[in-house]
Amino acid sequence: MRKKVFVGLLVILAVMFVGVFAAGCGGGAKSDNVLTIAGSTSVQPLSEELAKAFMEKNPGISINVQGGGSSQGIKAASQGIADIGAASRHLEESEKGMGLTVTQIALDGIALIVHPDNPVNNLTLEQVEGIFTGKITTWDEVGTGSGPITVVTREAGSGTRGAFEEMVLGEGGKITDNAIVQASNGGVSKTVAEDELAIGYVSFGYITDDVKAVNINGVEPTPENVKSGNYALVRPFNYLTKGEPQGLVKKYIDFVLSPEGQEIVAKDYVPVN
């Protein structure tokens, strides 16, 4: 009886050690057929679509698309944790010395979204700035609708928030502390869909039937208007690689930039080629 318990314990320990050992090795190993993309949650849905198409064309290759945020994507690419880092903003000064090659794969608009029952259809950029800095706190001040505005924003460090602050608030502008903070495009979209008085901003790819995207300065938020340059809130989607893309990474990025890849981009975003 005792012997059995003893052997059992040894076996469990052995399995644990082998497991830890294998996991430790597996994590670091790079396979030729696996590609990891990590970073911006805004780029994520597009990367997933592109990866799906690429994998269909090239059986046996597996692409792993992860989120984490733009800053995380930049870090992952520079440290070799991911083969490709995805960022929905330009590189910051501190990030330019990391030896990363930037490939712009698409342009994305940032849409201001409200509840479908909200009568607001158009906002000026100044009104958006006023709402998000807390100078405008009710829909009455906007001129359409009534009641206090629920401002919904993203967490500090998010690429979408960074791009939004840069384009709307300008230097020194700060989003009001009264804003509800959600951790993802989907979270913002969900909050706005539930709250008739809410306003938030999301990547074009996250505009759903549950929310209404308003016009900015009279311009409808559509890929066409982003392309023509009429829509005000536009930012790049970038793929970052350590050095020049090579091998499978190059093959994938070439596919993304090919007419076929850019056609997929064009569904929700604006192609670059």
């Binding site: 984490g68 967490e155 500090a156 509800i180 951790a183």
Partner: protein
């Protein structure tokens, strides 16, 4: 046979040492990552600052310390009376067949993943609050309600054990003196089980303070000092989880420093349990 005994003893010792080693490593890691912040940023400003603006290099976590305190207190106010009442019912009133149904149900409640609680809170609780109370639903109250439900199993189970551990003779003596069942519970059993029930509450408090996912989903996460229970709030755990994915440099360190503060609060709570008298009657 002897040698086997010796080996087993050593294997068990190593397993026990591993647990302590892991805790030590986590502590060292969190402290090592967080402490360097205070070479650039004053500890006092960090703890008492009212503003959190990582882009503007302002890291004040006071609103979040208060935020964690608010939602935890709210959860205790809402959850503990229900949980203790439930424990009394289970230990004193419930017939055996009902216990057989209630117990597994409570255990099931303990097993539900926190994200599910968060989702329920977002869809049901937040919606209800938005329709029937001031504010926009995502609030201290919403977080407190969700947490109150989440701490129920912990508080119920440990309180019930404490109540059942009260010597039978106490109850019999009280009944023999002519006290009714309820009088006995109120004046004899509950006071005798007091320390166990307090321990249950402290454990529930630990669970509430540490909860992250469900709170992020329903609390609104605004990093400012909440002035009303209907306003959104950000807790310490939410602060770390929300921004960790994006943080770099001193922002990253500030999040680890937030973790240190949380760590210290939890350790203080756990040592509270040690101070409590162990068994009924010990205090005399």
């Amino acid at each position: 046979m002897r040698r086997h005994e010796w080996l087993i003893e050593k294997v068990l010792f190593i397993s026990a040492a591993m647990a302590i080693l892991v805790i030590a490593l986590i502590t060292v890691f969190v402290v090592a990552e967080g402490m360097p912040l205070f070479q650039n940023y004053s500890l006092w400003k960090f703890l008492s600052g009212l503003e959190w603006d990582p882009n503007g290099y302002v890291f004040g976590i006071f609103p979040m310390i208060i935020g964690s305190f608010y939602v935890t207190l709210g959860a205790l106010i809402l959850g503990v009376p229900v949980a203790v009442a439930c424990a009394v019912f289970l230990a004193e009133y419930a017939p055996a067949w009902m216990t057989r149904i209630l117990r597994p149900a409570i255990e099931l409640l303990a097993g539900i993943p926190s994200v599910i609680f968060g989702f329920w809170g977002l869809v049901v609780v937040v919606d209800l609050i938005r329709d029937h109370a001031p504010g926009r639903g995502l609030s201290i109250v919403a977080a407190s309600i969700v947490l109150a439900v989440m701490i129920l199993p912990t508080v119920i189970n440990i309180s019930e054990d404490a109540i059942r551990a009260v010597p039978r003779s106490f109850k019999e003596g009280s009944l023999a003196l002519g006290a009714t069942h309820w009088q006995t519970i109120r004046s004899v059993i509950l006071p005798a089980a007091r320390s166990g029930i307090l321990a249950a509450i402290v454990l529930g408090m630990g669970r509430a303070i540490g909860e992250t996912m469900a709170v992020i989903m329903v609390a609104g996460n605004s990093p400012k000092l909440a002035l009303s229970i209907w306003e959104p709030v950000r807790t310490l755990t939410a602060n770390v989880a929300l921004e960790m994915g994006y943080a770099a440099g001193d922002h990253y360190r500030a999040l680890f420093a937030t973790g240190i503060v949380l760590f210290i609060i939890i350790m203080l709570l756990n040592s509270l349990i040690g101070i409590l008298p162990k068994k009924a009657g010990d205090e005399r």
